[in-house]
């Protein structure tokens, strides 16, 4: 199974964010999308999830040539965006139970508690999410995203708010999911963490995938160097064009 973006473009008014971008991620791959602030990472994740339609081009999942916007496919995506999709007046457990029922996962209360334990919230007091810290909300968001046993995991800045232990937990979870032949695409600026698990780094620059860097035991310095080289080469080209 493959997630493909074919020549997708997206503009907000006069500002073109994605420019005939093509991308392909296979099941079992764990791809990290790198890019400067405003490069279009979130727009790409939203478009790939089907929440947002591209102005042109198409997003396909698998060999069925089926649009990702199709509702059935959307339910097989585990999505993390900047907002947590959590209800503040429900407890963490109630939030999970609510989404579990919507997804019709068939998980019982014990399974949901196990899920809370998986993200390190097993011993959290049963208080409403309003009383959670940013890191606790992010942990619960990760549990919510994995609840439907998704085939595709699209995580936008998933390390946000997590402590070191939380970052390690997230790495462990995405590795486990990837090993189960799930497709993982995530964006982050935390290169030191993602370097340990990613199979490939795609650099989004000026609306396109400007470079694809395989992770064959690449060092942090080498990764940063290559990333900077791609971004600065793009800037140089822009200056030359001007």
């Amino acid at each position: 199974m493959t997630l493909q973006a074919r020549q997708i473009s997206k503009a907000y008014g006069a500002q073109r964010v994605l420019d005939k971008l093509s991308l392909s991620v296979d099941a079992g791959e764990l791809v990290c999308l790198l890019g400067a602030n405003g490069a279009g990472k979130t727009t790409l994740i939203r478009t790939l999830s089907g929440l947002q339609k591209p102005d042109s081009g198409e997003v396909l999942w698998g060999s069925k040539s089926e649009g990702i916007g199709a509702l059935k496919l959307r339910r097989s995506i585990g999505l993390i965006l900047h907002q947590p999709f959590l209800y503040e007046h429900l407890t963490g457990f109630e939030n999970l139970r609510f989404y579990s029922r919507l997804y019709e996962t068939g998980l019982g209360d014990a399974d949901l508690r196990k899920m809370l334990g998986r993200v390190g919230l097993g011993s959290a007091r049963p208080i409403s999410v309003r009383g959670y810290s940013r890191g606790m909300k992010q942990r619960l968001t990760i549990a919510r995203a994995l609840l439907c046993d998704p085939h595709i995991l699209l995580f936008d800045e998933p390390y946000t708010g997590l402590d070191q232990q939380g970052c390690g937990m997230l790495n462990q979870l995405v590795l486990e999911e990837s090993a189960r032949n799930k497709l993982v695409l995530l964006t982050t600026h935390e290169l030191s963490y993602i370097r340990q698990v990613a199979t490939r780094f795609d650099v989004l620059h000026r609306g396109k995938i400007a470079a694809s860097i395989p992770n064959a035991g690449i060092s942090l310095d080498a990764l940063q160097e290559q990333y900077s080289a791609v971004v600065s080469a793009g800037k140089t080209t822009r200056k030359e064009q001007a």
């Binding site: 916007g69 509702l71 959307r74 007046h89 029922r101």
Partner: protein, 224 residues
């Protein structure tokens, strides 16, 4: 269909639990309704003779204005934490979100009517305890919630949602407003020589058509 009904039930449960704990919607609706009834009472200084003439109008206007506060807030909770997008990713059919919101808003309006009728009866010294009267208010609330839920789902995504909702909604409610006030007037004996069946038919047809149309277009409203 089974999955759709299941989603509707789960969404209503979530809305009711949220409301029970936060009391955001009911508090604002009730406070506004009670204050409006007081203001009308002092401003109009009605004689016992013309109270019956004006009762349906006052009760329905108070419910519509108070209900607008509830409609605005019903989608704000989803918008605040990005939960609307979470729902879009999770439900098997997007119309389930609309229908669940419609039923929740309808429940709020019915609850409001249950409280407004006795308060009005005490303040204005005129009994409105009449099942038929309550039934007409419930039918009107259905049409109001059907149109209001759709419009609120559109306006919640805009910056001027508090202003836009009534501006877009109230013209659409013209048939409901007329039918409810006239029907209640006939029931209270203030409107003579009119057949209530015509107004009730109008109300029922409006409710069914708006609900069906809204279910059909809701998916496009959300995605665009």
């Amino acid at each position: 269909m089974k999955a759709w009904l299941h989603s509707v039930r789960v969404l209503i449960w979530k809305d009711l639990v949220q409301e029970w704990r936060s009391r955001d919607i009911l508090t604002s609706m009730l406070a506004f309704a009670v204050l409006s009834l007081f203001i009308f009472n002092y401003a109009l200084e009605l004689s016992p003779i013309n109270r019956a003439d004006i009762a349906p109008g006052i009760v329905w206007v108070v419910m519509v204005f108070a209900g607008t506060l509830g409609l605005n807030r019903s989608f704000t909770a989803e918008q605040d934490q990005g939960c609307f997008e979470g729902l879009i990713m999770a439900v098997p059919d997007l119309s389930a979100i609309y229908f669940a919101k419609l039923l929740t808003n309808l429940l709020m309006m019915v609850f409001l009517a249950v409280l407004v009728i006795p308060i009005y009866s005490v303040l204005y010294n005129q009994s409105l305890f009449n099942w038929a009267f309550f039934g007409v208010l419930a039918l009107g609330s259905w049409g109001y919630s059907a149109a209001g839920t759709l419009i609120a789902s559109m306006t919640v995504q805009t910056r001027m949602r508090d202003l836009l909702l009534p501006v877009l909604l109230f013209p659409l409610l013209l048939p409901v407003n007329m039918a409810v006030v006239k029907s209640c007037g006939v029931l209270l004996g203030s409107v003579a020589g009119q057949d209530i069946n015509g107004w009730l038919n109008l109300l029922l047809v409006y409710d069914v058509i708006v609900t069906m149309l809204s279910i059909m277009v809701f998916e496009y409203v959300i995605q665009e």
